[in-house]
Symmetry: C2
Subunit: 193 residues, 2 copies
DNA sequence: CGGGCCTTTGACTGGTTTCAACTTCTGTGG
DNA sequence: CCACAGAAGTTGAAACCAGTCAAAGGCCCG
């Protein structure tokens, strides 16, 4: 149930068996069906979720009702609305499951307590937050400096399996494009090769 | 010399005078003239800089030699290449001063040591990294879901003084636009009001 | 005062969006 | 098991908007 989570943890900060059991006591598991919400706009985000298996997305609804997908999280990634989680303010985002998913959940209170008790957990989430920051910075870089073709190719190398698991119109939303434009971008790429 | 840094620190995590002196012993000050580098591509980023006063930018050079500005840091913000700082690998970015600047510097070795010795410092940089992540996520949101006009207006509300301190073509680069397009965006906005 | 950089403006080009139609695929119910 | 409705993806044409190239004016700095 926690295989991937602790695999991830141990690759980042090695744990003894006892430490692992201790940390596990602060975690819970949650299974979500496709389309089920983990968080809805207006709610306070009270947890951080690690995706053991599945695909989650964080998005907001535009004024015109369109879904703007900000982040995908597949197996091995974390997802939360960090702003709402830290400040306790209502979230402006939705989080839901793109496919049936298994999550490892830690609540805010559990996380706060565990951070005080375990230097290794503290270190783990610090490094993971840093990694998440670096990823976003890379994404900004590609958005402001690459062509659509190159941005799509980069997405494929970073998340090779995403096109098989996520509908194309969601990838278009993630890239800030219309579905039609992404379809044409893909066509241009396949013709070139 | 460290006024703003510790003002910031105390607003995030309150310190006693003794704790402040202890932390101060790990910090150094650096003054940079406009156009001076803090980091050049190929170097390993060995420090995190806090901008006491001034404006810094992080950017990369595109294949065509164009500057792609990823991040600005004005008074009260941090700047570093977090990837290079964490992994010790050579940076693909440049950091330099947009105007004469005063920085509070902490090196990697000092930061690593201080994190072990001071839970409050650990907490401070964790919260600051989280904030930085949230900021980037907001920026991604606006890039994929807002019009150019709205993105520019948002930039003005988030950094009201930036247009007086940063040349317009750098703001265009930061937004991923040509200088000509930004000029026309500004014109459209002023006509509307 | 002069030179060079920055910003603005114009005309033109190229690429993205929009709208609409058509096809394919999927899941559902008869 | 087939029929059908709805969603998803593709394609085309027209409108729109950002990029490019070029030129002119303004401003800062030497």
């Amino acid at each position: 149930m926690f295989e991937r989570y602790f695999q991830h943890f141990n690759e980042t900060v090695p744990l003894t068996a006892a430490e692992q059991e201790f940390i596990k006591s602060y975690l819970t598991v949650k299974k979500l069906r496709k389309r089920q919400y983990l968080l809805q706009e207006g709610d306070v985000c009270n947890c951080v979720a690690f995706v053991e298996k599945g695909v989650m997305r964080l998005y907001r609804l535009g004024d015109d009702g369109a879904e703007n997908i900000i982040v995908f999280a597949t197996d091995g990634y974390f997802i939360t609305d960090l702003y709402s989680f830290i400040t306790n303010e209502p979230s402006g985002y939705h989080i839901d499951a793109v496919e049936d998913s298994e999550l490892v959940i830690i609540t805010r209170s559990a996380s706060d307590e565990l951070r005080k008790l375990s230097a290794k957990y503290q270190e783990f989430i610090f490094l993971k937050t840093s990694e998440a920051y670096i990823q976003l910075e890379r994404r900004i870089t590609s958005v402001i400096s690459l062509s659509l073709e190159d941005r799509y190719k980069e997405l494929l190398t970073n998340f090779p399996d995403i096109i098989h698991r996520v509908p194309q119109h969601m990838i278009a939303s993630y890239m800030g494009l219309t579905p039609e434009t992404l379809s044409r971008v893909r066509k241009r790429i396949t013709i070139q090769n």
